[in-house]
């Protein structure tokens, strides 16, 4: 999966799950302060990302350090690289 595909699919998650406008989804956008998610939303963000990318990240401690949308992209790309390496 290319970086562009990860960005596009992640943005779809934010649009579909949190009813956000695509134009607000810039890499530097802060997930909580700019996009308005809260702690309950992060639970659903994880579930939605798991579904979208077919990954298991619920117990991954790195989720806690996500702040910006770019952090989400990087996290997913890292997970995918790890999965590819382990396969």
């Amino acid at each position: 999966m290319t970086n562009e595909e990860v960005v596009a699919m992640t943005n779809r998650v934010f649009v579909e799950s949190f009813e956000l406008d695509e134009k607000d989804l810039t890499p530097e956008a802060h997930v909580f302060e700019d996009l308005g998610l809260d702690s309950l939303d992060t639970v659903d963000l994880v579930v939605a990302l798991q579904q979208k990318f077919n990954v298991r990240i619920r117990d991954d401690e790195r989720v806690r350090s996500i702040r910006t949308l770019n952090d989400v992209y990087e996290f997913i790309l890292t997970i995918q690289r790890e999965m590819a390496a382990s396969n």
Binding site: F18, E19, G36, D38, L40, D41, V43, D44, V47, Q50, Q51, R56, R58
Partner: protein
């Protein structure tokens, strides 16, 4: 102990006949049925009743996402109905002393749609990784009242009676008691429900859902009629504002009616079969509490759901107490059986009838079943003043509920 007087000062609903009270009354006035064929039900093997009377979900996105995320359709219906009731009453919770306004909303169960989605995702792998944060908040039994109270900032008593088809009227009765006892100055109260094939299926398996009118849904719900064959499930929500009389007077509120009596009781006989004896007890004790005689009642809004047994029992109970002296009609020919919402929605209709001095008839009552006879069935709109009316709501589990409203001497 001196009890406060409790009056109804606001009404709101989302019903199978439309998004608010005027739409509901327009539909009733036109004699419309909201029942329709449900193509989505066809996929369920063994489901014989393929009809329902759904309410339409509209403008739900006017509720901000963070408030709405914990709401299934039953909570959205209730929020919209509650906002209508408050607007109708010209009252905002923020205008009240914190803790003085409560909220009591009943339903049979939480969201069956969300429950089904949850199990669909979890089974057959027994995998909880797809469970979202909001499924629990939509499935719990008090989901509607929790959402309404949070959304409107209500900080008084928040309660959720769950007694199937009696839930909505029980909620109004509890609100009445909270106000009478001086615990609350005002209470938003009522019932809500949402359709799901398993809800219809639960009645179908007990031979209590209509199965013979799949090709003619508008004729399916026919309370007291010879050719009735079961109920038609509907959904929606009815919410009323019950207010302490002096509080309402002090702010010059319009008063629809005063609640004069309320009774709820069990039959102690059977979990699914209605009991005329328990109904007689329920209506009789409500009359006693109201201090009224049978000839004081000008109208009975029946529970009558179009089931073979239930309608017969209710007609017999009414006959036993009132003979054929009091006009009787059921609204379920028009809106189907909205279950936990039905008591509240039909109470709202009855209040409008009282205001308009006109009684809506039982739709589809074409041939009165002899076993439902010898009571005064209203089969066409009847113009007549209503001083006091009696509203019944009965439920599986042998639970019976009767509420009596009186035209208030002032302000109506």
């Amino acid at each position: 102990m001196k009890l406060n007087r409790a009056v109804i000062t606001g009404i709101g609903c989302v019903s199978p006949l439309g998004r608010d009270v005027p739409a509901l009354i327009d539909g009733l006035t036109a004699g419309r049925s909201a029942a329709r064929y449900m193509a989505a039900f066809e996929q369920y093997t063994g489901l014989r009743s393929l009809i329902a009377a759904p309410a339409e979900l509209v403008d739900e996105k006017l509720i901000p996402r963070k408030d709405r995320r914990s709401m299934s359709r039953m909570s959205i219906f209730s929020v919209q109905a509650a906002e209508q009731a408050l607007a109708d009453a010209c009252l905002a919770p923020a205008d009240m002393v914190p803790g003085d306004i409560g909220c009591v909303i009943g339903s049979t169960i939480g969201s069956m749609n969300t429950m089904a989605e949850t199990f669909d995702a979890m089974l057959p792998e027994y995998d909880l990784n797809q469970m979202t944060s909001m499924q629990f908040f939509q499935v719990i039994s008090h989901t509607a009242v929790m959402n309404v109270a949070q959304y409107l900032g209500i900080t008084g008593a928040v309660l959720a009676p769950s007694a199937a088809c009696a839930s909505g009227l029980q909620a109004v009765g509890i609100a009445y008691d909270l106000v009478r006892l001086g615990r609350q100055k005002a209470v938003l109260c009522g019932g809500t429900e949402e359709l799901h094939p398993t809800v219809t299926g639960s009645f179908d398996v007990l031979y209590a859902a209509s199965t013979g009118y799949n090709d003619n849904p508008a004729k399916a719900s026919r309370p007291f009629d010879r050719d009735r064959d079961g109920l038609v499930c509907g959904d929606g929500s009815g919410i009323l504002l019950v207010e302490e009389y002096e509080h309402a007077k002090a702010r010059n509120a319009r008063i629809y009616a005063e609640i004069a009596g309320f009774e709820t009781c069990g039959s102690g006989e059977h979990i699914s079969q209605s009991s005329r004896g328990a109904m007689i007890q329920c209506m009789g004790r409500a009359l006693q509490q109201a201090g009224l005689q049978t000839d004081d009642i000008d109208y009975i809004n029946a529970h009558a759901t179009s089931t073979v047994h239930g309608d017969k029992e209710e007609a017999a109970a009414i006959r036993d107490i009132f003979a054929d002296t009091v006009p009787v009609s059921s609204m379920k020919g028009n809106i189907g059986h909205t279950l936990g919402a039905s008591g509240a929605i039909e109470l709202i209709i009855s209040l409008v009838m009282m205001k308009q001095s006109a009684i809506f008839p039982t739709l589809n009552l074409e041939h009165i079943d002899p076993e439902c006879g010898a009571i005064d069935h209203v089969v066409e709109t009847r113009e007549q003043p209503i001083r006091n009316f009696l509203k019944n709501a009965f439920a599986f589990g042998g639970i019976n509920t009767t509420l009596i409203c009186s035209r208030s001497g002032d302000g109506v």
